[in-house]
Amino acid sequence: MKALVYIEKKDGSPIGTSLEVLTAANALGADITAVSAAVPADCIDEDIVTSAVVAEARDGGYDIVLFAATTLGKIVAPRVAARLLAGSVNDAISIAADGDGFCVIRPVYGGTAQEKIGIAGKAVISVRSGSYEAAESVPEIKEITAPDADEIGIKILEAIAEAGEAVNLEDANIIVAGGRGMGSEEDFALCKELADILGGVVGATRPAIENGWINRTHQVGQSGKIVAPSVYIACGVSGATQHVSGMSGSKYIIAINKDEEAPIFDVADIGIVGDVKKILPLMIEEFKKKQG
């Protein structure tokens, strides 16, 4: 079996989810060709990557084309599939060979159910972050280009950066996430303080973002980032399906919430029933002491 793996890069290095995709391809026993495309500054990455991958896939006789299920990967996978007339699945959590085709599992209804999908022939699949361990070695990454880059009609007129630092939730080892229960922007800052002490990254639920306590690049959940850190500390997070589906792959979950019935406790390794605004400062003190 031949697999084409698109490696998405950030600041020149493969993102963590792309390393996980390599493991998915290895698990299929596939011969892997890893590729990446450089995107001209005034072009939309989706257009360039679609065109470049299609050109490579047409020549290469691949059985499967794999992407990380990022914003980019989930848009490009079906577009590539449309041009190759292959079956596509976004957000796969497992992929198995099945005769000449594949059997894929993906979450639906915000993760409360999973769907099994069969593809009889060639497949183009994006793999959800946290579904496989990251590959330890990366094969040589071949640079590919879009043959028709000049003809693509959509140009970027202006790029506007989001205020605040770049956030890399998917590759974070520790995430301290705040929800509605943090109550105010001022108290939400406790999450940042704890994250800083632990060398982690701040996550947030949709209500925390809608309240303006932190910007949307920190959102964890179905409409934000899908994460699977070693430790996830959920502060004042009730555990709405929308959020839990984005973090339930975490290896160790600590939850603090004053409502003992909160669904977040169903997935937590340690659940503390109590006032997050009193507990977080004590935790911060203890971790500071531990670190000397």
Partner: protein, 264 residues
Amino acid sequence: MEILVCMKQVPDDSIEIKLGADGQPDLSKAEPQGNAFDTYAQELAVRYIEANGGTVSILSLGPAENETCLKSALAVGAEKAYRVDDAGFEDADAFVTANLLAAAIKKIEADNGAPFDLVLCGRESTDYIGGEVAEYLAEKAARPFVTNVVEIVQENDGAIQAKKELDSGYNWVDAPLPAVMTISKPDYDPRYPKIKDKMAARKKEVPVLAAVDLALEDGDKVALVKYLGYQEPPKREAGVKIQEEEPADAVAKMFEILAADKVL
């Protein structure tokens, strides 16, 4: 400007859907409604034509029950709503769904004697969350495609400027028309219908196009993926619950467990 919004009818996304005894998703407690992102697309379209002129039409694929979301759309600024009856295509995947929508759009455009300047879709549906139909549709229609748009500004010289949401920041892009776009969540929420508009919408006729009558090539009718059924996600074991009167005791207990579990 003539705008068409594709709308999927989905179960209420605020209700948790679980598998029933028959292994199928139990939708009995979730009222049908227009997919949230599609309603954002409609609101964005209606705001645009209110400011700049034009009409907004809605297109939905599905059985007669889907007229629920179409009637709702007609009550909040859409002028026309069309339904493609999917009888004969119940196994449609994203590819076939997009092909049916593309063929229906072609037919409506031919009947109207003019193309839609913009075809908008929500970025994904809240039930299956595949995020594929608009992509297949744009490829089939071979029109310029902009994803995750949150704002459009007045067309100029056959092109439109769109604000495209990125993981971090935005791009303003210039897209030639006609184009296909997916819409993400803008800063505003869709409007609520007024009673009188609701009444008027109820009386409006929704033209129905039969999927089996649409001009589709044979290859475009065959699904590329097959839905084989559902399974429960593996359950995560709930761990230790700490319930202490004093926050300091709770934190002390947490550190004991962390030490035992060799975490942090």
